[in-house]
């Protein structure tokens, strides 16, 4: 209690010192109102909790789902401006079964926890790998995909082991991903070149700014299949993990609904259909059974 209070107080002073100067000093409290009036698309959050319960979401008629907008083929925006991909296919179904409109929020890897903890989205469906550290910050529902880490490199200099790297070789990672955390913890000597967004990391990798790119193996396999001249030298690194939807910590009603949804979707082999609709083009049929997790198991 006390610690929490101190935390809030110091934090409050910090922000108040910066932001509050305008409000207190210049009699411009009107600015907040005027500004708020111009804001759009925000679905009112419950003021005393950091999240919206299942009923509140249904009542509002809109659910905010955080997805990637630049991570093909899992979450991206197609040439007609529509969200698409494996995660989005599932999101669409959630919207349909809840009977609400979906408001997609474009997230970066490093923002995902933040979005949930500040209640700015209801669900994160952005290829979110379940890890112990993250489970302390958010609540994961049942998983819907298998994943491990992988490393892709150009054909001309395939990286097959992380121990072979030269002292100056840099590996590209995306800020806030499991690959970053894993390498930071287990290979502290490897130089990482970090990017905010998938699009930037991939372009930099294509441009030859790093010797290899480490990420979820799904992602690096997709990259090597879609782009000529690249090989996944290390197909599996670290532990086998799973990918699951996440909600704000403590949002039990939504979590339970999601778990039931994933279980019941298993009976109709929903995620296999999802794979065939969104991933088949990239991976072919070979990966279907290794990637897809049906009914949460």
């Amino acid at each position: 209690m006390k610690k929490n209070f101190v935390k809030r107080l110091t934090g409050g002073l910090l922000v108040a010192g910066l932001v509050g100067a305008a409000l207190t000093g210049c009699g411009s409290s009107a600015s907040t109102n005027e500004v708020a009036a111009t804001g759009e698309d925000t679905v009112e959050a419950d003021s005393n909790a950091g999240f919206r319960t299942l009923d509140e979401i249904k009542e509002s008629g809109t659910i905010n789902i955080g997805v990637f907008s630049d991570k093909s083929p899992f979450g991206f925006v197609d040439e007609n401006g529509e969200y698409a991909g494996y995660d989005v296919y599932f999101a669409e179904r959630i919207g349909k079964d809840l009977g609400v409109e979906i408001n997609y929020v474009s997230t970066e890897a490093a923002n995902r926890i933040e979005y949930l903890q500040t209640g700015k989205v209801d669900i994160i469906l952005a290829n979110f790998t379940v890890t112990e550290e993250r489970a302390q910050e958010v609540d994961f529902a049942l998983p819907y995909m298998n994943v491990a880490l992988g490393v892709v490199s150009p054909d001309s200099a395939v990286v097959e082991s992380l121990d072979d790297l030269g002292a100056d070789d840099q590996i590209i990672v995306i800020s806030g991903t499991t690959a970053e955390t894993y390498l930071t913890k287990n290979y502290p000597d490897i130089k990482l070149q970090k990017y905010d967004a998938y699009a930037e990391a991939k372009t930099a990798f294509e441009n030859g700014n790093g010797v290899a790119w480490a990420n979820d193996n799904t992602e690096v396999i997709a990259f090597s299949l879609e782009n000529e001249g690249y090989t996944v030298g290390i197909p599996s690194l670290g532990d086998q993990d799973t990918i699951a939807p996440a909600v704000t910590k403590g949002n039990e009603t939504l979590l339970n609904w999601l778990n039931e949804e994933i279980e019941s979707l298993g009976s109709e082999n929903f995620f296999h259909a999802d794979y065939e609709a969104t991933l088949l083009d990239t991976y072919g049929a070979d990966y279907e059974d290794t990637l897809v997790l049906e009914g949460g198991k």
């Binding site: 910066l18 806030g176 700014n209």
Partner: protein, 219 residues
């Protein structure tokens, strides 16, 4: 706020500060040089070069640094021009800053009464001599507050370096938030480090400006 976390993160922010300053100063020196050369070209109305400098100023003053960096770092390699992240940061900052520095120097030069140039000329000094011994020393002094404002502006602009993988202060904060979700601590350190970096420059700027005003009034 958790004190242990602050202490744990401190070295990372220190590294970021060093990187920010390193790239920042290189960029600022480049901007300074571009500013001097560019304003000299405008001052002497050198044909062709004058137009090039004019176009350069308009382009770099009317596009965001972020987009400039994106272009240099991500687009140019597609046509075979490879730049490292650090070089890109220095180059971007230098080119952007140069466009502002030229204007700052030029207004400094314009502030010097024409009679000084004429007197110097009548004493038999060459154009270059006039520039070097008469105009520049005064112009730079007059420009100091503007220069310092540009320095602060450029050091602030380093906050967009995260997009080209440079671990500056902003990126360090974002990265740590992404990995460990200690938002308040990370943002607090971020603010503190920007204060450490920029407050002294800002204060010096204010003092210099006041001094100079006295100087002018005393003349």
């Amino acid at each position: 706020m958790d004190k242990d976390i602050l202490i744990e993160y401190l070295p990372l922010y220190k590294d970021a500060l060093i990187l920010t300053l390193k790239i920042g100063w290189q960029g600022i020196i480049l901007a300074f040089v571009i500013g001097l050369i560019g304003s000299a070209i405008l001052h002497f109305k050198v044909k062709v070069l004058k137009t090039i400098v004019g176009v350069y100023i308009e382009i770099f003053r009317n596009t965001p640094l972020l987009v400039q960096l994106f272009f240099i770092y991500f687009a140019l390699p597609k046509v075979g021009i490879q730049v490292t992240a650090e070089a890109c940061g220095v180059l971007g900052l230098g080119l952007l800053g140069g466009a502002y520095m030229i204007e700052t120097f030029r207004s400094g030069v314009e502030a010097i009464p024409v009679i000084q140039t004429e007197s110097a000329a009548s004493l038999g000094m060459s154009k270059l001599q006039i520039l070097w011994h008469v105009i520049l020393p005064q112009a730079i002094t007059i420009s100091i507050p503007g220069l310092l404002a540009n320095v602060i502006f450029l050091l602030k602009e380093t906050s967009v370096f995260s997009t080209i993988s440079l671990m500056d202060l902003m990126f360090t904060a974002k990265d740590l938030i992404g990995m460990y979700a200690k938002t308040i601590e990370c943002l607090f350190l971020l603010v503190v480090f920007y204060l450490i970096m920029l407050l002294p420059i800002s204060i010096i700027g204010a003092v210099v400006e006041r001094r100079m005003r006295y100087g002018q009034f005393g003349d």
